[in-house]
C-alpha cells in the first residue's frame, strides 16, 4: 500500500513540477532580462499555468493529412513515458524510491536513449522538411551526447562501485562526488543539456531556422506532451546531477532528506534557466565537433584517470 502512495506521490509532484516550470521559467527569464514576466493572473501570475494548460487542451488537435497517422500520434507519448520511467530509479529521500533497481544508472541511460525516438519519429511522421531536418539534428545530437554522458557517469560508478543510485548516494557520505569528479560533473551537465535539447543546445527546434523543428506540425495536447516532456527532462537531469554528484538527499540533519533533494534540484533547474537566458545557440557542426573532439576525449581521460587513481589507492 505504501508503495502505491510513493508512486502516486512522485507522479503527482513531477507532473505539477513540469507544469509549474512553465511559470518558473518565464518568471526567471524575465527576471534576468529586466522584465516582469507573467504577473497578472493570480498571485505572482501563478494561474498562467492553469491558463496555458487549458489553452493546450482546447486547441484543435490536428493531424496533418500528409502525416503518418499512427506514428504521429504516439511519438509525443514516448518522450513523456521514457522520462517518467527514468524517475522510477531516482532516490528522492532515504526511503522514497519507486524501484530500488540494481542497475539504476543503466536503466536511466536506457530510458534516455529511448527518448530519442520521440524526436525522430515525430519529425519523420510529420512528413515536413523542417520537421525532418529537426529530427535528423536531434537524433545525431542525442546519440553522440549519450556516449559522453555514459562515459562521464562511469567515473561515479568506479568511485561508488555500484550502479544502484541509492548506494551511489550513500557512497557520498564523506565527500560529494562533485569534488573528485568535477570534470565528469561538467561533462554530464553539458551532455544533459544536449540530451534534453534545452537552450543553448536546442538545435532540433531552433525557432529561428527550422520553424519549430521536429514539432512544427504538432498542436494541442500532442504539442503539450513534447512541452511537458522537455520540462520533465530538465527536472530529470537536475535530479540526476543532484543524485550522482551533489549527494542526493544527504545534508545537515535539521531538514529531512527529501527537502534537501528538492532544494538542490531547484538550484540546478535554475541553472538550466540561467543557461537559457545567457547563451547563444551554437551551430550544428560546432556542436558535433565540440562533442566529439573535446568532450569525448575529456570523458575518456576522466574515466582512465579515475580508474588509475582508484586502483593505485587500493
Amino acid at each position: 500500500m505504501n508503495y502505491w502512495w510513493i508512486i502516486g506521490g512522485v507522479l503527482f509532484v513531477l507532473l505539477n513540477t513540469a507544469a509549474g516550470l512553465i511559470w518558473l521559467e518565464r518568471r526567471m527569464l524575465a527576471l534576468w532580462q529586466d522584465r516582469y514576466g507573467p504577473n497578472r493572473a493570480g498571485p505572482f501570475g501563478l494561474f498562467i499555468v492553469l491558463a496555458d494548460t487549458l489553452k493546450l487542451f482546447f486547441k484543435e488537435d490536428w493531424i496533418p493529412p500528409f502525416a503518418d497517422k499512427v506514428v504521429f500520434v504516439f511519438a509525443p507519448a514516448i518522450v513523456v513515458a521514457s522520462v517518467l520511467m527514468s524517475f522510477t530509479v531516482i532516490p528522492f529521500g532515504p526511503n522514497i524510491m519507486v524501484a530500488d533497481l540494481n542497475i539504476g544508472l543503466l536503466f536511466f541511460l536506457a530510458m534516455s536513449s529511448l527518448g530519442v525516438y520521440s524526436i525522430v519519429l515525430g519529425g519523420w511522421a510529420s512528413n515536413n522538411k523542417y520537421a525532418l531536418l529537426g529530427a535528423m539534428r536531434g537524433a545525431s545530437q542525442m546519440i553522440s551526447y549519450e556516449v559522453f554522458m555514459g562515459m562521464a557517469l562511469m567515473g561515479v560508478v568506479i568511485l561508488s562501485g555500484s550502479f544502484n543510485l541509492r548506494e551511489i548516494v550513500e557512497a557520498q557520505r564523506k565527500i560529494w562526488f562533485i569534488v573528485p569528479q568535477f570534470l565528469g560533473f561538467v561533462i554530464f551537465l553539458i551532455a544533459g543539456i544536449a540530451e534534453t535539447h534545452r537552450l543553448p543546445f536546442d538545435i532540433p527546434e531552433a525557432e529561428s531556422e527550422l520553424v519549430a523543428g521536429f514539432h512544427s506540425e504538432y498542436s494541442g495536447m500532442k504539442f503539450g506532451m513534447f512541452f511537458i516532456g522537455e520540462y520533465l527532462g530538465v527536472t530529470l537531469i537536475s535530479a540526476m546531477l543532484v543524485t550522482l554528484y551533489c549527494g542526493g538527499w544527504l545534508g545537515p540533519d535539521f531538514l529531512p532528506g527529501v527537502v534537501w533533494f528538492v532544494l538542490k534540484t531547484f538550484v540546478f533547474i535554475s541553472l538550466f534557466i540561467l543557461l537559457r537566458a545567457s547563451m547563444p545557440r551554437p551551430r550544428y557542426d560546432q556542436l558535433m565537433e565540440y562533442g566529439w573532439k573535446v568532450l569525448f576525449p575529456l570523458s575518456l581521460l576522466n574515466l582512465m584517470a579515475t580508474a588509475a587513481i582508484v586502483l593505485s589507492l587500493k
Binding site: L31, W32, D34, Y36, L274, M279
Partner: protein, 171 residues
Amino acid sequence: MFSLIRSMWLVFLHAFHKRDTYQYPEEKAPLPARWRGRIVLTRDPDGGERCVGCYLCAAACPVDCISLQAAEAPDGRRYPGFFRINFSRCIFCGFCEEACPTYAIQLIPDFEMAEYDRQNLVYEKDALLINSQGKYPGYNYYKVAGMSISGKEKGEAAREEPPVNVKSLLP
C-alpha cells in the same frame, strides 16, 4: 570557456537590476510631445476650425485613409463638409500633418483607440475635431493670410498691406 561563465554571471547579476517594464494599464508610458498617435483636427484661438478643406492631407496620405469634402461658408471661408479618417488603414506616418498649410490636422500622443468593431475605427468629423489648438497655440491662419470680407478684397482695408504676390520673383 571563461567568457561563457562570465556572461552567465553577468546575466545572473541582472536579477538585481531595476526592471524596464511599464505596468501598462496602471502606469502609462511617458510619450514625447511630438509622438505620432491619434489624428485630430484643431481649432484656432478664436474657436473656429483651422481646416480649409484644401485636400492636401488626402493627397499626401500614402494609404488613402483620409477623405473629405470642402464646403464654403456664406462669408467665403472654406471648411470641410465632412472629414473622415479610416484609422484601420492609417499608418501614423504624419505626412498629413506635414502637408497641412494651416496646422489644422495634427497627430497627438494618444494610441489607446482599440475597438471591437472594425467599423468603429472610421472616425467622422465630430470625433476628429477637438476643442483645442493642439501643438500650435496662438496660430491663426487667417490672421497671417488675411481674409476678404464682403465689399473689400484682401489688403483693401485700412492699415492693411496688399497680399504678397507669390508668383512674382520681385522682392
